[in-house]
Symmetry: C3
Subunit: 207 residues, 3 copies
């Protein structure tokens, strides 16, 4: 349970940083930074908790999560201009956030005793939906949909790794570590080395 | 209850096909197809279940729904290039999906004993919101908002037909059949024959 | 509780008017007006109720809310051409809606005994998310994100005023009045006098 809490806190803070970076690209004011950062930080976990009927939703029971997201947003507001490339920083922070949010989703579903399929899906939802909301609200091309990059695939493979380890009788901590590792490795490989899956192609593309 | 299950399964599979077709227009990879197809397939019913506090959400209790959506996405990934016009196929599949999802929403609200107004609204929500999420996430013009076409109107009229049949003392099965028939007939008439309602017009259009 | 009900009704009707005005900008038909108006009218309060696990969701327990939203949409459909500037009307109606929806969110969170941080957040969520959904669905630039305008800030300051009054031992009615006053005054000052916070700036803006 302590590991789960650590994952939740880490994913909230890192996703908040990505939300604040997107807010900086939209040239918002400080309150706008806090708003987008909070939405991104708790979005995926909130949907997970609502779907699993987990009461209270994690940040309603512990508002410190929102305070952390707000703090992260404030730090970014005053320091983002120091970054060499905000977009590149955004991509790598988002990769880290994904790699802690996916195991956070997996851990909750496992703790509630759900079957493997739901564990898999909750990993993907918790990992991907906060960033998706951030991008839809800020009118960025969702990272989830970027052509020629692995994104949902990483979350899916990471969740799958956790399910596999558990099925083989591994300890929950090992499963979560494998989950984070696989998720980050695939996303980093996609960002740094261009790993990808074949995409659907047709000509003309929109008929 | 068997009829309700059949409606749920049919609407999940058909909406998944539409989601996969939109994913093909966005040139996603296979996992992207599965993600968008699942979002579209279970989106409307999920919101219905959350709003009505129906626990567990239908696909959390029965993950086979997600498996079916994934299967439909995989089929589309490998066969969509065979279609003569993917957009035309999308419109007609979406019409079919609407015509089964609206009665699925109506059936749940009736089974839970809600009044006519809520039955009406749940039909519209279950029918329209999965496709709306698909279009917002994929940055398509939502079908819900397409000018000069009937869409929400079809869902609304279909739900209304079900409520009317029930109010007149008809059997639930008859009400759901009427609902599906009216929904599909109106949508098909709009697609094939250009049926429409007068729209709001003003010049200049955006002032 | 009567004050709370009055706030809920007022915010539903006024937000419905704003939703219908956006629908008029998108040149939708009458059913489209009702759909967008209802989404805008009950969106924020619905998310508040789902997050706080308040059952039933306010409009599911009292469908009259949707009827009022539909009525407001119908009135706008037939009279919007009489407005001199629909966009200006939209902005000012939205300011009024914000100023009643924020205290409505605050009141619910207080009534359920939540701590100050959650009260603050529920004020912001109830005030801002209905309009945000309206703008995302209709593909308008979300008011929440408009550069050089106060929006979330107004909701945040209004909620903060309510929390402060309550903490000082003020009566709930006074707190809600202060909340509405602060929210509206800030938003009106931003619209009429150009009040704003410094925004994040960088060159080039998107790197």
């Amino acid at each position: 349970m302590t590991l789960l809490a650590a994952l939740d806190y880490a994913s909230v803070v890192i996703f908040a940083l990505t939300g604040a970076l997107v807010a900086s690209r939209a040239q918002l004011d400080l309150v706008g930074f806090v708003f987008i950062a909070s939405l991104t930080a708790v979005g995926g976990g909130t949907i997970r908790d609502v779907l699993l009927d987990r009461n209270p939703v994690f940040w309603v029971g512990q508002p410190l999560f929102i305070g952390l997201a707000a703090g992260a947003a404030i730090v970014v507001f005053f320091t983002a201009h120091l970054l060499e490339s905000r977009y590149r920083s955004l991509l790598w922070l988002d990769a880290c956030a994904l790699a802690v949010a996916v195991p956070a989703g997996v851990a909750v579903a496992v703790a509630l005793g759900h079957p493997a399929a739901i564990v898999l899906i909750m990993g993907v939802i918790t990992g991907c939906l906060g960033g998706l909301m951030r991008d839809v609200v800020c009118n960025e091309v969702p990272l989830v949909l970027k052509q020629g990059e692995l994104y949902v695939t990483c979350a899916f493979a990471g969740s799958g790794a956790a399910v596999l380890v558990l099925w083989l009788g591994g300890a929950p901590g090992v499963a979560l570590l494998a989950c984070a590792g696989v998720t980050f490795a695939l996303r980093a490989g996609s960002l740094a080395l261009g790993w990808r899956l074949p995409v659907y192609k047709s000509f003309p593309p929109r008929q």
